[in-house]
Structure formats: structure tokens, C-alpha cells
Symmetry: C2
Subunit: 449 residues, 2 copies
């Protein structure tokens, strides 16, 4: 048995970031990172393995290098048990390690729906396991007809990448909602996302619930509740993930309303020697402290930075999930931060929306120019920003982070309308047309009426 | 004589934005915009006319369309006199117009140094006049040896564009400072800018003061204080601009310490019926309220949005100049917001700096990946952000606006280190490596020591 000041269980975005942060704040503590995978895929990069990067081995978090650089020890094994009374963890091979502080960052598992035929061969979920991801790649290269269940980020990105890998593959995407990406963007953006997918020759089946996978040994077709039947030689599930709380739960740690490990604002579980962060931890919304089901790598790393700093002294507070994300579909960025019109309304906010669009160059004929649309959502009574969305030019990928900054700082439409944006002919819209400022101004004018 | 509720003098970024904003806030007021140029160049776009856009007529603010859309009347004439007592302006052709509120947005004029030979033919400054800009273009196409005086934004961008237009042209840039862009970036970035220019075959002469332009009718050479002499068949001046306050000054309006029109925080001059905004208006720093010499289109439009809203009711306050800007040299972005290490130190702040760099993709082999470096400057005692700089990937053009948002909102290093950035394989660094968050974290760690 070996003693460590800090043990971190989990080697993906949250675990790695918690370890690096812990090292920065506590240079003299001994830190051990225990993970069950030798090779850790970059989670957000997984879809891009299939049409762009073309090798799961080129989509890895360089965990070993990072841990060595931060002087953090490593063990590659599954942890099977935590003894909270004696501050011990036990691995599969029955090694035990003593901790003073423990961090659980065990992530999430893809949801596998309990439908007929789910166990058939060539039905895949997106597991963060390199060998499994390689099997998916092999199967894609052998497939002629792929069905994807779910049109969230993973479903939409996988559809595009499969098509990019081989335009001859027939891709059918099934989604229970009426549009792709329904839970993260407002309908106007979802419709553009839908068009982006359809324009690439992807078949979308909206408002459809796959209830049965048909086949003998191998998948042959799927069938929906409406009795639509589509042939398939491969099925990819992209319907979300659930917190991996098995270890925590079996150790008596309490779970929260979203089925993640319950943590307080300092990321401590009900056992104050044990912290949790990332997909396995329960979350609340930045806006109303109510449970949030958002799980993103950027949230995981934010939480991990809080955990790493708080291990021996409480220094940081988690103010909850803003939610900031982006994707690219058919060469157009789709980005969002904070609440949409739909989610703000659902939370009971009286809102006011401002929009603005312009080419992201000035004059517009400067090379690389592309339309960039911005929509900002404000609380009507206070003018405080609740969220925003951006569509079009790829510069939206960083512009959305300015919106996330506005939201974090609870800036008002007034402050944003008179915020000083840097603009340049080769990089952005003109200062007259700059989208963030004009969207805020347009919202203010509406608030006055 | 015609009566208007609002008259705006000036048709560039400030005047146009003040007019549009006034229309939004005061839908029933009559508004007249008076400008002396039929065609208004996009000011920041001027250098790009010469190597990229290749026609001054394609770098115009669509003033007429914008004014028509906002139901704003226009007169194209120089204003020669203001009678403040009777609220009248007089034009060159002796037309007069009555105003209730007047906005002066007369911009700036390029500095023409009083050196020997400055009147020679083929010596040009950068005037915002399309016919003159066309003459510059004609001369560039006839030149073999161009001297540029000044290595600020205009000098550096003009040098690059002349070289892009015709790599055979010999370009010599003279600058009194030891590096290009010295007043806007810290030395590390200035050295990278220097390299970017030199790598394109541009000759830089730093620490050199051009004291004489030699020639008979036409320029033939320039000579520096150190007696360096370089041949030239064209000289372009890029040494800054001074506020165009002639009209305001002759009307008895007071000027400020930076020689611009003195305005209060609501952008009113000493005559409360008269507002000023843009390059012609004096400015103070956001950080210490001391006079600021920064003049940027993004500051002009910010001030114009305050003026437009405040005309009949005070609604907005100008908190001073943050300063946010970017440029591209040799395909790399150079961006800054707020104070540099040098300017913060000069203002007396005890500072702490954090840096981070990463490819703006994850994994780094995703297409379009480029290194993006970020440096953030914090006040040591409070952790409040004072400024930041970004270098490398063109996504810095919007990332710098997230930094400007942090500065505007007076966010602390703590808030930035735990801010939720949106990240995506095809658009940004990974959430583990994301530059803004890591630069803040690195500064915090330094503050602790």
C-alpha cells in the first residue's frame, strides 16, 4: 500500500485537468492519477476520427506527457472499491492506495436504449475506448448503409464525417425531436443545421423513434414507432450519456437529481475528503441553480480547475453551468452560450432578443469573408444577458467565447452595446456592423417599445 | 434655411454610427448628415486597397444606403462655420441649417511632419479621400522603390500590401522606435511583427528618424538624422493623425489635453447642445481616466453609439478607452486589448502576467490548425484584468474580443480561470489547453508566489 496526498480516478478531460491544477496549487503534494485506459481519446475529437483525422491513434490526450511534466504518478487499472473510513482505494488487481484527498472523475457512459435488437453485431455506441473506436472505423469502411440514432452533436458530427469518409455510404439519421440539435439551439439555427446535413446528402428522419433493430446476427434494418423501416448494415447510437457513478454510489456517496455524484459549490461530495468533477458530477444551472443536464468537456475542465485548487483549501466556487459550445456542419459554425430563447422561456424569464448579421470582413470582398449571424437573449426587466448563439463564419468559434464572457460577467445589453470590440478588415466585421454590439443595441431598442 | 432636430457633421465611422443610433433612439426626429466627401473610404480598409482589394472604389462605407435605410437626409458639402447662439451651421456654398442638437464627427488628419522636401511630388499621406487614394495606387504601380515613414499599423500594413501588389518593389520602412507597433504591443509581439515584415522581404530601419526628403520636383531619396540615405521614387507617411478640430475650435468649443474636442462622459462638448465623437473628440483611459491618445474606428463607433442615444436624454456614459485592435502580418494575427505590460507599468500598476499557447485545434492535426499564443496582464493586488495580447492563428481576431469583454467587465483572473469557454476540434484549442483560461491560471499561480 502506498500513500498519496491526492488520488485522482479518471484520466480524461476532468481527471487530467484536476491533476495539473492540483500540482500548480500544491507543488509539494504527492499526486496519483489512476485510469483504466492506457490510451485516452480526445472526447470531442471522436467524430473527426472518421472523416478527417482518419486514425483513432491520432486523437489522443497526451496524458502520459502531461502527467510526467506535472510530476504526477500514474497507475493504469480500474478502481473497484473505495473505503472511505480508511481513505483507501482498491484496484482490480487488488492493489490499494491511501489518499488524503480523493477526486472522482469517472466520466459518463453512452446511453444504450433497451430496444429489441440492440445487442446485434454492428450496433455501436460512442465509447471512449481506442480499440472500440478503431472497430467503428473498420465497420464504417465496410458499410454501405449506416443508421445513426440521435441528431445531437455526436449524431450530426458522425453523420457528416461518415459521409466525408465515403460519399457513397447511405446515411440515415433518426431523431425523436423535430429538428437536429434541438436542445442546444433555437429553432432558426436547428433548421440551418438540418439544411447543412441534408445538403451533404444525409437523410434525416425527424420526429421518429427507433423502437426496433432488426437482424439475425448482424443488424439489417431499423424500425420506428411509425413503422418506418430503413435498411442498415451498421447502427451508431448518439443519444446521450449518463454519469458513470457506479464506484461512487457503491461507496455510499450520494447522487443528485440528474443522477450524477452530488457535490456542493466547492465540488466536494457528501464526504468532504472526496471531490467529483466532470460528466460524473451532478450540475446546476448558472441561471437559476436548478439541476442541469448539460455535460461538456469545457464544463468538466472548469469543474476540474475548481477541484484542483480546492483540495486542501477552499479557494474557488462553482457558480454553475453556463454551457458554451460550438460545432461545424457543412463548413458553417453553429455556436451557443448560456440560455436559448426556448430554455430561458422555460425557466420563466421574460426575455428580449436582439439579432445582427454581417460578413466577417470589411469590405466584404476581403478574402475569406463569410456571413456571421449573432443572436443575443436578454432578461427584459434588467437587460442582463442570458445567452447567445452564432452561425456562419468559423470565427464564431471564438466569438461565442466573448458571449460566454458577457454571460459570466452578467453584463447588460447597455454594456455590450458600448463594449469596445477589436475589428480588422481581414478578421472581423466593420466596427459599424460588428455583430455583438449591434445585436445588443437592437435588443435595447426593442426593450424600449 | 432648413430646420433639423439633429445635424451630424461627418460621414465616416463615427458620423454614420451616430446617425444610425440617433434614428433608433429617436424615431420621430429629423436628422441631417452633412459630409464633405461623396465617397467615404472604410478607414481600416485603406491599406488593403493596394495589395488585396485593388480598387479604392471597392473599399467604401455604403453611407447613402445606410442613411436612406435610416431615413436620414444628406448634404454633401463642407461645413465652414457654426453659430452656436442661433444653432446654425453654414456650408461652403453659404447654405445654412438650424439644429436643435449638433454632432461633430470631423475625424482626424494625417500628421505631415515639417521636414525638408515634404512638399515634393510622390510624397503621400493616408488621406480618407478616394481620388487621392487612387493616386496613391497609380503611383505604387509606377514605383520601384518605396519608403514608408512610420511602422505603426498603417506603415506595417502598407508595407505588406505594397509588397503583395508587386514583390519587385523595394520597400524601406523607417521608424524612430526600436520595433514596429511599439505603442500597441509588448516587445515580444513587436519582435514577431518585425520578423513577419522582414520575412516578406521588407527592409526595416529601426531607431531611425527621417529628417529630410531629397529631390527636385519628385522625391529621389530620404535621409535620416544618422545620415543614412535611401533612394525612393515614392514616400508614404504613416506617423499618425491629429484630431480635425478646426471647425469646433473656431466655434469656440474647448479642446482637451490631447488636442481633441473636450467632451464630458456623456460626449457633450462645453456647449450641451453640441456633441462630439470619434477621432476629433478628446479621450480618457478606461483605466485611470487620464488623457488617451488612442484613436480607433472601434472607439469612434462606441462613442457614436453613446452620442446617438444621449442626444435628447442622457442614457449612456463613456467609461473611457479600453483599446482593442488587431492586424494580420504575414498570415499571423497580432491582437491586443487594454493595457500592455509596458503601458500598465507606466500607469503605475503592479502587475502579474500569465501566458499560454496551444494550436487552435484539437487534436492539433485537425485541418487549419495554427499556433495561438495569449498573454494576459493583471493587477497583482486585486487580480483584475488590465489587458491582453494574442498572436498567431487568425481566430485571435475574435478571441481578442473575449479579452476586451473581460476587461470591460473588470473580471478577475479567478473568474477567467473558471470561465466556461466553448471549444471544438475544428475551431479552437482543447478545453484542457484553452489559452484564455490557462493564461489566467498561470497568472494566479504567479500571484501566489
Amino acid at each position: 500500500m502506498t500513500n498519496y496526498d491526492v488520488i485522482i480516478i479518471g484520466g480524461s478531460a476532468a481527471g487530467v485537468t484536476a491533476a495539473i491544477t492540483a500540482r500548480k496549487y500544491y507543488p509539494d503534494k504527492s499526486i496519483l492519477l489512476v485510469r483504466d485506459e492506457e490510451l485516452v481519446p480526445i472526447p470531442c475529437g471522436i467524430p473527426y476520427v472518421y472523416g478527417t483525422v482518419l486514425d483513432p491513434m491520432k486523437n489522443l490526450i497526451p496524458v502520459n506527457n502531461m502527467m510526467t511534466a506535472s510530476k504526477i504518478e500514474m497507475v493504469i487499472e480500474s478502481v473497484v472499491k473505495i473505503n472511505r473510513e480508511f481513505h483507501l482505494i482498491f484496484t482490480e488487481s487488488d492493489q490499494s492506495f491511501h489518499y488524503e484527498k480523493l477526486v472522482i472523475a469517472t466520466g459518463s457512459n453512452p446511453i444504450i436504449p433497451k430496444i429489441e435488437g440492440i445487442q446485434l453485431k454492428n450496433v455501436f455506441s460512442i465509447k471512449k475506448n481506442t480499440i472500440y473506436l478503431k472497430e467503428i472505423q473498420t465497420q464504417i469502411s465496410n458499410s454501405k448503409k449506416i443508421v445513426i440514432i440521435g441528431a445531437g452533436f455526436i449524431g450530426a458530427e458522425m453523420a457528416e464525417e461518415c459521409k466525408k469518409f465515403n460519399p457513397e455510404i447511405e446515411i440515415n439519421v433518426f431523431e425523436m425531436q423535430d429538428h437536429p440539435l434541438k436542445f442546444v439551439y433555437d429553432t432558426d439555427l436547428c433548421i440551418l443545421a438540418e439544411k447543412a446535413l441534408v445538403d451533404q446528402g444525409i437523410n434525416l428522419h425527424m420526429n421518429e423513434n427507433v423502437v426496433k433493430i432488426i437482424g439475425n446476427e448482424f443488424v439489417e434494418a431499423v424500425e420506428t414507432a411509425s413503422k418506418k423501416r430503413v435498411e442498415a448494415d451498421m447502427v451508431i447510437l448518439g443519444i446521450g450519456a449518463t454519469p458513470n457513478t457506479k464506484l461512487a454510489h457503491s461507496s455510499g456517496l450520494e447522487l443528485g437529481p440528474m443522477h450524477g455524484i452530488l457535490v456542493n459549490r466547492y465540488m466536494q461530495t457528501i464526504d468532504e475528503s472526496i471531490f467529483a468533477c466532470g460528466d460524473c458530477a451532478d450540475k446546476v444551472s448558472f441561471f437559476d441553480c436548478k439541476p442541469s443536464g448539460l455535460r461538456l468537456a469545457s464544463i468538466a475542465t472548469m469543474e476540474a480547475r475548481i477541484v484542483g485548487a480546492n483540495l486542501f483549501d477552499v479557494r474557488r466556487t462553482n457558480y454553475g453551468v453556463v454551457g458554451c459550445f460550438s460545432t461545424v456542419l457543412n463548413h458553417k459554425a453553429f455556436a451557443g452560450a448560456g440560455l436559448t430563447v426556448a430554455s430561458a422561456t422555460e425557466k420563466g424569464f421574460q426575455i428580449c432578443v436582439g439579432e445582427a448579421e454581417s460578413v466577417n470582413r470589411h469590405p466584404g470582398i476581403m478574402p475569406g469573408g463569410d456571413l456571421l449571424k449573432v443572436k443575443l437573449v436578454f432578461e427584459r426587466s434588467t437587460g442582463r444577458i442570458l445567452g447567445g448563439q452564432a452561425y456562419g463564419a468559423l470565427s464564431a468559434g471564438e466569438l461565442i467565447n466573448a458571449i460566454s464572457a458577457f454571460v459570466s460577467a452578467k453584463m447588460t445589453a447597455e454594456a455590450i452595446a458600448t463594449f469596445q470590440a477589436g475589428t480588422h478588415p481581414a478578421l472581423t466585421a466593420s466596427p459599424i456592423a460588428y455583430q455583438l454590439v449591434n445585436a445588443a443595441e437592437n435588443a435595447i431598442i426593442k426593450m424600449h417599445h
